[in-house]
C-alpha cells in the first residue's frame, strides 16, 4: 500500500467513484480545469469532462440548491464549497431543505448529496478562511456530518458518503490535507458513517476530538505519556450521528474527560459531547469535564491564530486540571 496524504486519498476516492458510478457528478467553484483550490478534484475534469466535473458560477446557494435538485433527479452529486466560511450563503438550502425533504416528501424523495467543505484553521489563511461551523450543521435534523482525521478515514468515509442515500456534509480539515502520509488501500473501501475511532487507548483521562484537533490530542497524549499520564483519544470522525456508545465507554473507563475543538467554545459541539458524557457516564465521572476550544471572539487575522486555536499547553492544562479535580 502506498503512503499518501489526505488530499490524495480524497482525490482517489472521487476518481474511483466517478469511474464506478456513472451518475456521480462534481460541481463547485474551480473544481474543473483548476482541480479545486486544494487540488482535491485534480485530474478529474481531464478524465471525465466538463459535463461531469462542473465549474459553476460563484454562487453557493445555487451550488447546494441545484445539487439538491440533481440528487432528487437521479444523479449522485458531490458539491464542493471552497471554504467553510463560504457555506454561509448556502445555509438556507441546508437548514430549510437538505435534511427536510425526506420527511416532507414522506420518504418519496431521498437526497443523496455530498457537500465537501475544506474546514478549520491553522495554515495562516486570509481572514474568514478558517472557520469551523460544525455545530450548526450537527444541530440540523435529517443530515449527516463527518470529518476524517486520517488519509484512511478520508477515503473510506468519502466513499461511504457518496453511497449514502442521505445527505452528508463532508468536512475536510485544511490543516491535514498535506500533513503527513499514511498507507491507504488502492482499492475502494468504506468506513462506516457513525462509529468513532479509538485513536489511542489510555486509562487516566479521555480526550475527545475531531478533525485537526485529533492530531493535537494525540500529540498532547504522547507528550503527557512521558509524565506518566495515560491519555485515551477518541476521534469522533462522525459528528452526526455521534458514537455515544464509544464516548460513554471511554469515560466510564477513565472517569475523566476533556473535549477539544477549534470552533468557539460557547454553543460549540463540545457542549453536546459534555451532555452525552453526562447522560451516559455521570456516575463514573471523577471530575468535571473540561472544554478546550477557540475563544469566543471572531477568528482573528492569522498573526493571532496560534493562540486563538487550542494549543498543546491549553490541552495539557485542562488535563492536569481534571486530574487534580
Amino acid at each position: 500500500m502506498p503512503a499518501i496524504n489526505m488530499a490524495t486519498a480524497l482525490n482517489q476516492a472521487l476518481g474511483q467513484m466517478m469511474n464506478t458510478e456513472p451518475r456521480l457528478v462534481i460541481l463547485g467553484e474551480d473544481v474543473g480545469q483548476n482541480g479545486g483550490v486544494f487540488r482535491v478534484t485534480a485530474g478529474l475534469w481531464e478524465t471525465y469532462g466538463a459535463e461531469r466535473v462542473m465549474d459553476t458560477p460563484l454562487a453557493e446557494s445555487a451550488i447546494v440548491g441545484s445539487a439538491i435538485g440533481m440528487a432528487i433527479g437521479g444523479l449522485r452529486p458531490v458539491a464542493e464549497i471552497q471554504f467553510m466560511g463560504f457555506l454561509y450563503p448556502a445555509l438556507n438550502q441546508i437548514f430549510s431543505h437538505l435534511g427536510r425533504l425526506g420527511q416532507r416528501s414522506r420518504g418519496k424523495f431521498r437526497v443523496p448529496l455530498v457537500v465537501r467543505i475544506p474546514y478549520g484553521g491553522g495554515i495562516r489563511a486570509p481572514e474568514q478562511h478558517a472557520d469551523s461551523a460544525e455545530a450548526p450543521l450537527v444541530h440540523t435534523a435529517g443530515i449527516k456530518v463527518v470529518v476524517p482525521s486520517t488519509p484512511y478515514d478520508a477515503k473510506g468515509l468519502l466513499v461511504a458518503a457518496i453511497e449514502d442515500p442521505d445527505p452528508v456534509i463532508f468536512l475536510e480539515p485544511i490543516r491535514l490535507y498535506r500533513l503527513g502520509r499514511a498507507e491507504v488501500p488502492a482499492d475502494l473501501y468504506r468506513v462506516r458513517i457513525g462509529p468513532a475511532r479509538l485513536a489511542r487507548t489510555g486509562s487516566d483521562v479521555s480526550l475527545i476530538s475531531w478533525g485537526a484537533m485529533t492530531h493535537l490530542a494525540l500529540q498532547t497524549a504522547e507528550a503527557m505519556a512521558g509524565d506518566g499520564v495515560s491519555v485515551e483519544v477518541v476521534d469522533l470522525r462522525s459528528l452526526k450521528p455521534m458514537d455515544e456508545a464509544m464516548i460513554a465507554e471511554s469515560v466510564r473507563k477513565t472517569g475523566r474527560a476533556v473535549v477539544v475543538h477549534e470552533a468557539p467554545r460557547t454553543a460549540g459541539l463540545g457542549g453536546e459531547v459534555v451532555s452525552v458524557i453526562q447522560e451516559h457516564a455521570f456516575w463514573w465521572l471523577k471530575a468535571p469535564i473540561r472544554r478546550v476550544a477557540a475563544y469566543d471572539v471572531p477568528y482573528p487575522p492569522y498573526a493571532w491564530e496560534d493562540v486563538y486555536l487550542p494549543t498543546p499547553s491549553r490541552v495539557m492544562r485542562a488535563i492536569r486540571q481534571v486530574l487534580q479535580d
Binding site: 458560477p57 440548491g65 435538485g69 433527479g73 430549510s96 414522506r106 455521534m242
Partner: protein, 350 residues
C-alpha cells in the same frame, strides 16, 4: 421598457397570438380552474371553522395556475410554492392529499406525481428546479422542470442565482412567475424599480415572455412553447404571468389594511379569469352556456368528497414524524422514538 415586453394574449380583445389549444384541453383547463376556485372557497370556510390552519388561496390566479400546469407532460418536474395547489392537482397530486396538506397532516406530494414538497422559503426552490433540469438532460430524459413563484420571489438572491445558473448551463427549466401584484402587503411597485419583472431575464441570457396571466390559454401556450424550447436545447425561459391576488395573502391576512377594495375592479367581473375563459369557450363554440353550471356542481361535489375524506382520515400516527427522515433510523433517533412512545399523550391532534 414595458413596451418591449408585450403581453402574450390568446383570448379577448387584445389577442395577439392564435389559439392553438385543442378544444378538449381548453375545456379541461376550465373545469380545473372551477375546481380550484371551489377548493379555495371551501378551504377558506374550513379555516374559519378552525378545521384547517392558515391557508393561502389563489383566487384570481386560476388561469395562471391551471393553464400553465396543463401544458406540462406528466413526467416533467414541478417545484411549486405554497400557493400552487391548483398546479399540484393539475400535475397529478391526488386531490384529497392537497386537502390533507392544508390540514397540517403532511406533505403535498403524495401519489405518483413528479412534484417537490411545496417550498415555503421564498424562491429557495428555484435552484432545485435548475438541478432537476440538469439531471434530466444529463440522464438523457425528455423532461423539463418548472418552478412556480411570485413577484416578491424575484427579490431573493436565490432567484438570481438560479436564473444565472440556468443561463450558464442552458438548463431545460421554466421559471413561472405569477405577478399577482402583491407580496403580502408590499405592491410590486415597491418590490423592484423596474416596470416589468420579465426584463430581469435579460440579466441572465434567459429567454423572457410576459403573458396575460388571466388568459388561461395564453398561459398554456407560453409554457408549451417554453417546454419545446427547453427540450430543443434552446435553454431556460422566464415567464411573467400578470395576474392579481383577489383574496387575502392567507387567511391570516387582512388586505383592507393596505389596499382599497377598488383595486380589485380591473381583475374581477368580466375580467375574472374563469368568466373570461367561459365566455370565450362559449363564443368559440366548444362549450355551451349550459355546461358551466354542471361543471361547478361537479366541482363542488368533488371538493366536498375530498374534504370529507380528509376530515375523516385517521389522526396522524405520532411516530410518523420520524419516518423517512433518514433511509435508516440512527441509534440516537431510535432512542428518541422510544421516548415518544412513552408519552401518554394521545396521537397527535388533527
Amino acid at each position: 421598457m414595458a413596451e418591449e415586453w408585450p403581453l402574450y394574449r390568446v383570448i379577448g380583445d387584445g389577442a395577439n397570438h392564435p389559439d392553438r389549444v385543442e378544444a378538449e384541453v381548453a375545456k379541461r383547463i376550465y373545469a380545473q380552474m372551477v375546481l380550484l376556485r371551489t377548493f379555495d372557497e371551501k378551504t377558506i370556510t374550513l379555516q374559519r371553522q378552525g378545521r384547517v390552519g392558515t391557508f393561502p388561496p389563489s383566487i384570481g390566479q386560476e388561469a395562471a395556475e391551471i393553464g400553465s400546469a396543463a401544458a406540462l407532460s406528466k413526467d416533467d418536474w414541478m417545484a411549486p410554492s405554497y400557493r400552487d395547489h391548483g398546479a399540484l392537482f393539475m400535475h397529478g397530486v391526488p386531490f384529497h392529499h392537497v386537502v390533507l396538506f392544508a390540514m397540517g397532516k403532511g406533505s403535498s406530494i403524495d401519489g405518483e406525481a413528479f412534484v417537490l414538497p411545496s417550498s415555503i422559503p421564498i424562491s429557495s426552490h428555484l435552484p432545485h428546479a435548475v438541478g432537476l433540469a440538469m439531471a434530466c438532460r444529463r440522464l438523457g430524459e425528455e423532461r423539463v422542470a418548472i418552478a412556480y413563484f411570485g413577484d416578491g420571489g424575484t427579490s431573493e438572491g436565490d432567484f438570481h442565482e438560479a436564473l444565472n445558473f440556468a443561463g450558464v448551463f442552458k438548463a431545460p427549466v421554466i421559471f413561472f412567475c405569477q405577478n399577482n401584484g402583491w407580496a403580502i402587503s408590499v405592491p410590486v411597485s415597491r418590490q423592484t424599480a423596474t416596470p416589468t419583472l420579465v426584463q430581469k431575464s435579460q440579466a441572465y441570457g434567459v429567454h423572457g415572455v410576459r403573458v396575460d396571466g388571466n388568459d388561461a390559454l395564453a398561459c398554456y401556450q407560453v409554457v408549451a412553447e417554453a417546454r419545446e424550447r427547453a427540450l430543443g436545447d434552446g435553454g431556460p425561459t422566464m415567464i411573467e404571468a400578470l395576474t392579481y391576488r383577489i383574496g387575502p395573502h392567507t387567511t391570516a391576512d387582512d388586505p383592507t389594511r393596505y389596499r382599497p377594495p377598488e383595486s380589485l375592479a380591473p381583475w374581477t367581473g368580466d375580467n375574472d379569469p374563469l368568466v373570461r375563459l367561459a365566455q370565450y369557450l362559449v363564443q368559440r363554440g366548444v362549450m355551451t352556456v349550459e355546461e358551466p353550471p354542471a361543471i361547478w356542481a361537479e366541482a363542488r361535489q368533488r371538493v366536498n368528497r375530498a374534504v370529507e375524506e380528509a376530515l375523516n382520515s385517521p389522526p396522524v400516527r405520532k411516530e410518523a414524524m420520524f419516518d423517512s427522515v433518514y433511509a435508516e433510523v440512527p441509534d440516537a433517533l431510535a432512542a428518541q422514538m422510544e421516548d415518544l412512545a412513552e408519552e401518554e399523550a394521545p396521537d397527535a391532534r388533527n
